[in-house]
Subunit: 425 residues, 2 copies
């Protein structure tokens, strides 16, 4: 019986165990600062599998000195990273498998059809915050490693499994693992791509723009300048900049994506009295950064675009919109589509699912940017789960996809890292 | 020496006393719920002048039954109205003089060059919240009555002086005085018209519009619908409705007013995460109601205008903007420009200032709408003070205008109400 057949059978026999593990993880609300319980569960699994385990809280002071550090917090007490190394016998390629354990808050409770941390299974779907993003992917990694361990398959190359914190807030967990020295010949992150392969990912940064007006009584509003009306001009200009930036994108991996690198305006607020002319409106948003673009170049382009307004509008000449960069940012990343890990993964995908995988550019950032750019480890993203449900009420994952992803990843590990003894049992 | 000359002289000799009275009133921060101290000072002045004084807290339960009642509160404990009646000898026309004692909050403290309740005088200007809106006008009324009393002039018609609460929040104080039975042949309110005469005033109402979107991750924002972009359409439509409504205004009293009855959008808020597509944006504003228009007609027109969006936009067909009416409202009012009080006031204005007064329609609502429409007392507005500084930091009034207004109003009282004995002293 081939390793492939044995891995398939092992996974078939561990469906209940895998589902229970995902349920346990989803039932631990591992929002920022509350990851410890879930991380201890993972550490326990890694000890059980006899991996070399390291568990540590990221060092905020050390991180703060790094140019790629961003986090809304400076201390990581109660938020440990966990790494487990499956040491190879030598002579093979190493593989880094990375997933994040932090989840975004549950949002509007009223929109959840079942409690947000229920882990309830309905029609093959497991529901709960983090099911897709990305505890399902983490379980797929653990199942792949466990199958290889329990079947007694010896790998030549090292496998480094990382369960990190802080991905949702800018990647400080993965950065901390990079600073610990963890690197490999290639990396895979099973974020919810819905089983597509993403060799490239856009980055993103948050911006805030303050648009001024001049207050006046609403009954004589012509004596003032409405910051809401002025803000509408700024919003239109941002939409125009988005068109200009996206018109430049000709990468076939973005084919079919209506807006490869969106500028999203997420919040707006201003004014304080219905019958006064509002004198300030503030918008906050994110600008997508193309996989091969530098974050500084994207910042400069947005700033210059807003500066043009001073020539186009008398009011803006006197009171220009004020731009700030704040909050989270995700580094863009790009791995050549000819990279061997993509070839191996594609082969195994076809072997398991009988069709070709979609290869696309990611519409969002992941910790893969940091691994590729800062961690010297080319990273691709491939995993089960649905982007569309991540961050929203009723997040869920198809369990079938989780098990299929585990099978594809296990087979990819075998081919990429090499098998110590080629003899089948 | 004519009464006119004596009144002028009396006022010249009472400049310091009048200034001190305005300072005392400005130094009492009579924001909503805190009017009692200032009202007691007024009541004391009225007792001193031997008027028939009534002091009472409006009855919230009684008011609540009235169709024109609006207030954010239902109890008026600590917020008394004060009325003083100068009873005439009979045979003359009665005059109601109304001013409000409530002031709006001081707003952003940092923008005040001196403390907001200082009453400091600089270059003939008295500074402080309420100086223009409208304690200066109230002092002008009191000086006019005091001059007539102290000079021993007997009037034929009654003069009813009202110092009311709650004008800034929809007029419950004046409504309470109407319900007490106070009425007269005509009324004058010395709101800060900067010495112009306003026979007509627009009304206004507050509205709130909720504009829905559909949330999505900012990186795939094309999967969502931005409530900010949809709200921009609603804002444009409101500006268009404003154009349509104002194009109908052909009253010469609005000549030179760029937007006679503005629609002002005062606040905007929506979205909760920079990298999510916002699913709801709410705007709040005020719609001006033409002097001869009904408030219901204005409401219906705005509602119908928004309904059109459902035909123009697929998204709005499914998720139409939701309109609510909330908060304050001010009844519009109109007095014929041929009204005799306007004639008398114009004559006295010319006699005192040597030029013709500007006669215009008011760009904002006052309690005059209630007096005209509900109180059966045709009301015009004329007073010292600057609209442009009312409600804003560094509110101030020219003391010279306050004394000139007092003189014009005193002479108007003489002519309107009639003098008991025509003999000059």
């Amino acid at each position: 019986m081939s390793w492939k057949a044995q891995i398939h059978e092992w996974l078939e026999h561990h469906r209940e165990e895998g589902t229970r593990l995902l349920q346990s993880l989803v039932r631990m609300p591992s929002t920022q600062g509350n990851e410890q319980q879930a991380q201890m569960l993972i550490a326990g699994k890694l000890y059980d599998m006899n991996l070399e385990v390291e568990l540590w809280e990221p060092d905020g002071e050390l991180l703060a000195k790094h140019p790629y550090f961003y986090s809304p917090r400076s201390k990581f007490t109660g938020s440990p990273n966990v790494v487990g190394v499956l040491r190879g016998s030598g002579g093979g390629r190493s593989l880094l498998l990375n997933g994040h354990m932090d989840v975004v808050p549950e949002g509007d409770m009223k929109q959840w059809i079942s409690p947000p941390y229920s882990g309830v299974v309905l029609d093959g779907m497991l529901y709960g915050r983090g099911a897709s993003d990305m505890k399902g992917g983490n379980v797929a990694l653990l199942l792949a490693i466990q199958a290889i361990r329990e079947l007694g398959i010896g790998l030549k190359g090292d496998v480094i499994f990382q369960s990190v914190v802080e991905e949702e807030s800018g990647g400080a967990g993965t950065l901390a693992a990079i600073l610990k020295g963890y690197k490999a010949d290639a990396a895979l992150i099973p974020e919810p791509t819905n089983m597509r392969i993403f060799p490239k990912q856009q980055g993103s940064m948050w911006f805030r723009i303050h648009v001024k007006g001049r207050s006046a009584h609403g009954g004589t509003r012509y004596e003032g300048v409405s910051a809401i009306e002025k803000c509408m001009i700024v919003v239109s200009e941002l939409l125009e900049l988005e068109r200009v930036r996206n018109a430049r994108i000709d990468d076939p991996l973005f084919a079919g994506n209506p807006i490869p690198i969106p500028i999203n305006i997420g919040t707006i607020s201003g004014g304080n009295w219905p019958s006064s002319v509002p004198d300030i409106v503030t918008i906050e948003g994110r600008i997508g950064v193309a996989p091969e673009e530098s974050m500084d170049a994207a910042k400069a382009e947005l700033a210059a675009w807003l500066d043009r307004l001073q020539e186009q509008d008398e009011w803006f000449a006197v009171s220009p919109p004020r731009l700030e960069w704040f909050g989270a940012r995700w580094v863009p990343g790009s791995v050549d589509t000819g990279h061997e890990l993509i070839g191996v993964l594609t082969e195994q995908y076809e072997a398991v699912l009988g069709s070709k995988p979609a290869i696309e550019a990611s519409p969002w950032g992941t910790d893969g940017g940091l691994l590729t750019v800062v961690g010297d480890t080319p990273c691709i993203v491939f995993g089960p789960g649905y982007t569309a449900t991540a961050h929203y009420p009723n997040e869920h994952i198809a369990l079938e996809d989780m098990f299929r992803a585990a099978e594809i990843i296990a087979l990819t590990m075998l081919t990429w890292c090499g098998i110590e003894e080629e003899a089948t049992k």
